[in-house]
Symmetry: C2
Subunit: 546 residues, 2 copies
């Protein structure tokens, strides 16, 4: 079962030898343990100015398996050969990797495990699984990499038989069109496998969410995932040429066009559908040649809001940097980059042209806005490494952060992130009210806490702010404490004019605020669409609507 | 009634003194008449190598009014005060400006006139009109500028009482947010009025479809209209921050965000909804400061396909020119620009930075692809005019083209355009098969004819080709001839892998091909959404689906 999953045709031997943690982020071997975990505990106690309880031992797979309850149903006969009913498979498909998932996983509480896991090999298998589950009133949760941070893949534990439909076997790049720069790719491929299969063609999707190593193309499409481009191609939405879904009402296959004006976009209804309308099986995506020119710079600002005004100038300049990420002083500290103030990473990349003119103008704008760039811009040709730069340190810290979160949770720390987007006119007030609301909530509910903010993506009309929060949790009370803090944060975001999510999706967690954010007639339209495609309501019930 | 409509607060006295033609494109005064029309007739006869019949006299409003049939219903009492039941109002709202509309208008056949025209002043009026029409089973066609070229506003003449809901009185820019560069604008405003109201703020939407002078923001959103930007912000879709619609089931108001990942986008379902889900009343749109720097160049290619490969290089370069329009030799000739071969206009504009680096690289790419640019690039600062340049001649010809089409129709010429988009890998074959299919059809059906092509927008993964066709029509047989040619062209587009429309919308004309292009489960979802919002099916019946 998928404790070990091939990361694609070119997966390295090292990776193949590693094993996914059954409860924590990523590879079991990369989770801080032993002395590293002890050192982290000491560091946290110091940072929070509080004595922390003795770390509990890490959970074992054996204990988790021993604790799992019996399945309520067996797989229907017609798909039995595609299904895995083992306790390990079931518990590995119980949760995503949100804070409550980590808390429950650490406690070996896998009550939300599905009754069985179905692993289709083909679209026909997917259709057969949907038919069988509809006939037997079994809820079906499409499952990609299992990295949801919003309860998007938590299909079991609700009194209705549940199947996790894992797309892992649909993981190939099927076609490459180098002329149009596009590729037809199956939904179940993980980020590294996708890039490894494109690489021989000199092409890359360049979609690098923090979950890259463990999330799938289908999951990105279903959740409108945000990637590494800070401007222009910020989310997977912009890469989609066409999508195929298998719905209980048949195959939904849009045609491949660079753009069409023929009615509302079918693809845009599939994007963000979070598994409630159908199972995404493949997509044509726009790809890029590998960049040949890169330019990057690290710019310092006295404070976050000054940096944000500078980021706005960049976002509105028409220069379209690939990176324009602003860290507040807390984020900079947390990630081991920068000094006293805020830090902005700006970078350009191109497969076509040198980037001096672009970067020079960006640095002018940033300097006019109060930034300093002591080391100037760095220009690199293809293949040159970025070691030693602040931005490289940041990148490493960025991809290590989910491991750190798991380790912190194991130490009794409430560690979570949330994100939004708002227009620039509302940003400063939103930042102030969300930061203070969350800081107050952490103090009130946990007795202490820390909140920081960065801008992950910037648009001409507004930024996507991303908040991190840390606080000491009360053993046994983590989920209640988190629920109260999450509600306070979400209320603050909504009342300040932010969206409940820019790229983390809705899932089950964001439902109360999504329901308020969504226009009511659109909700009625979406429910009607759902009924038309999924009349028995088997697809991911509870996500997006009831 | 709206024979004369204010083009916005800053409309000039000249424009106010002009009058919209009741049958032809645009201002009555600008339609070639008298000697100009005679000269055009001679020119066409020469170009087609055929003697043409003596031009019929232009139709008069009096004759049109005399011929219109009685309305089948009066406006419901609750909205009577908002309604105009005059024959002139009715016939002015009968058609868009497609070829069949011009033919019927020229013949004073206004059989498709609605029974009355409703002119709401507020959203409450819109809701009241929908309620009243639903209660009385009257079809409602939302009407913006009446420039549809796909039968999108032709609501009458189908045996069901029909109301044209004209948004002309909702024509204000309500709010401007200069920080986020966005504005809240009512749907009924025409292009010039919108720009005139933004201009005091130093801002511009820069959405310049060919219909700019006579089409509305609401119409652009409803039809996903294409504007003048050849890359990036090609269509109104990309300018939309949020939309308000009044549906029979209530107000649909999305919140204003730079981006949200909360479920499928409500705005993307409104975009392209062509009046079947609700009446668009306003939108927050992203605006730009007026450009301060411009760079433009005219590049010549030996033939169209060589030019298209060059346009692809530009589209895939990441340079994002504002203009990258390629005319084949026929288009160039027709518009009085260029010489023997194909002509490509490339231009950059920026409110932020000089454009030498951008244009230099673009000219390098174009030269590598076989282009010559004898006069080099022209760089201009804000306010400098473009007179004398080929691109300025093109722009003038572009906006004059619909007048020319009306005049040609009045001379018995079948003159029409159609457009598509396809991926680059399919483009050359599509161009060949569509061109030859249409040329054959014109010869077979009309005895002679001319077809030309340009690229209006270019994407990294494909172009939007736009075809123009001219042929001598048979008096009395125009609609049948056109129907046959349109079907041949549409079949050729679809079978070569193009979309039935990139920016002209579906309306009633493109339905047979749209129905085939659209994924069936998505059609089911859309129909279900429609039933949820418009249970009596009063909104624009026949558009997008039955």
């Amino acid at each position: 079962m998928p404790g070990r999953r091939a990361s694609g045709r070119a997966a390295s031997a090292t990776v193949d030898a590693m094993r996914r943690s059954f409860w924590a982020w990523g590879w079991e071997e990369l989770l801080p343990a032993g002395a590293a975990r002890q050192a982290l505990a000491a560091q946290v106690a110091g940072a929070l100015g509080q004595a922390m309880p003795e770390p509990k031992p890490l959970p074992t797979l054996g204990r988790a398996i021993a604790g799992i309850s019996r399945a309520s149903v067996a797989p229907p006969q017609s798909i039995a050969a595609l299904c895995d009913t083992s306790p390990e498979a079931r518990l590995r498909h119980a949760y995503g990797r949100a804070y409550p998932d980590l808390v429950r996983g650490f406690a070996c509480d896998f009550a939300a495990a599905p009754d069985f896991v179905c692993l289709p090999r083909t679209e026909e298998d997917v259709a057969r699984a949907l038919d069988a589950c509809a006939a037997n009133d079994i809820a079906v949760t499409p499952y990609g990499g299992g990295t949801s941070v919003v309860g998007g893949v938590e299909g079991g534990g609700r009194g209705r038989p549940a199947c996790a439909l894992d797309l892992a076997r649909l993981s190939s790049v099927l076609e490459v069109d180098p002329v149009s720069r596009a590729a037809r790719i199956q939904a179940g491929v993980l980020g590294p496998g996708l890039e490894a299969q494109l690489q021989p063609h000199g092409l890359t999707l360049r979609h690098f969410p923090q979950s890259f190593e463990f999330s799938t193309l289908g999951g990105w499409v279903a959740t409108r995932a945000g990637g590494h481009f800070a401007t222009l191609y910020t989310r997977i939405d912009d890469a989609i040429e066409s999508v195929r879904l298998i719905t209980p009402a048949g195959a939904w296959a849009s045609r491949r066009f660079p753009a069409s004006g023929a009615g509302p976009s079918a693809d845009r209804l599939a994007l963000g559908s979070e598994g409630v309308l159908g199972v995404i099986t493949e997509a044509w995506v726009r790809v890029h040649p590998s960049p040949r020119h890169r330019a990057s710079a690290t710019v310092f600002f006295p404070d976050f809001l000054t940096g944000a005004r500078a980021a706005r100038a960049i976002a509105q300049s028409g220069l379209y940097p690939s990176n324009c990420r602003l860290l507040d002083p807390g984020e900079a500290l947390l990630n081991g980059v920068g000094g006293e103030g805020a830090v902005l990473f700006v970078a350009f990349e191109s497969a076509d042209h040198p980037l001096q003119a672009w970067m020079s103008r960006a640095l002018e704008l940033l300097a006019e806005a109060g930034g300093t760039c002591p080391r100037g811009a760095v220009y690199r040709a293809h293949g040159e490494k970025t070691r030693g730069e602040e931005s490289a340190k940041w990148r490493d810290a960025f991809f290590a952060a989910p491991y750190l979160q798991s380790a912190l949770v194991s130490l009794g720390i409430l560690a979570d992130t949330f994100e939004t987007a708002c227009t620039w006119d509302k940003f400063e007030a939103l930042h102030a009210s969300v930061s203070s609301t969350v800081a107050d909530a952490l103090r009130r509910i946990c007795g202490a806490g820390f909140v920081s903010c960065r801008l992950t993506h910037v648009y001409p009309d507004g930024p996507a702010p991303y908040f991190t929060m840390l606080a000491p949790a009360r053993a046994g009370g983590e989920l209640a404490q988190w629920g109260e803090i999450k509600a306070a944060a979400s209320e603050a975001v909504l009342s300040a004019g932010g969206t409940i999510t820019h790229h983390h999706a809705v899932g089950r967690t964001h439902r109360p605020w999504y329901d308020r954010e969504r226009p009511e007639p659109f909700a009625a339209a979406l429910r009607a669409a759902k009924r038309a495609l999924d009349p028995t309501g088997i697809l991911n019930p509870g996500v997006l609507f009831d």
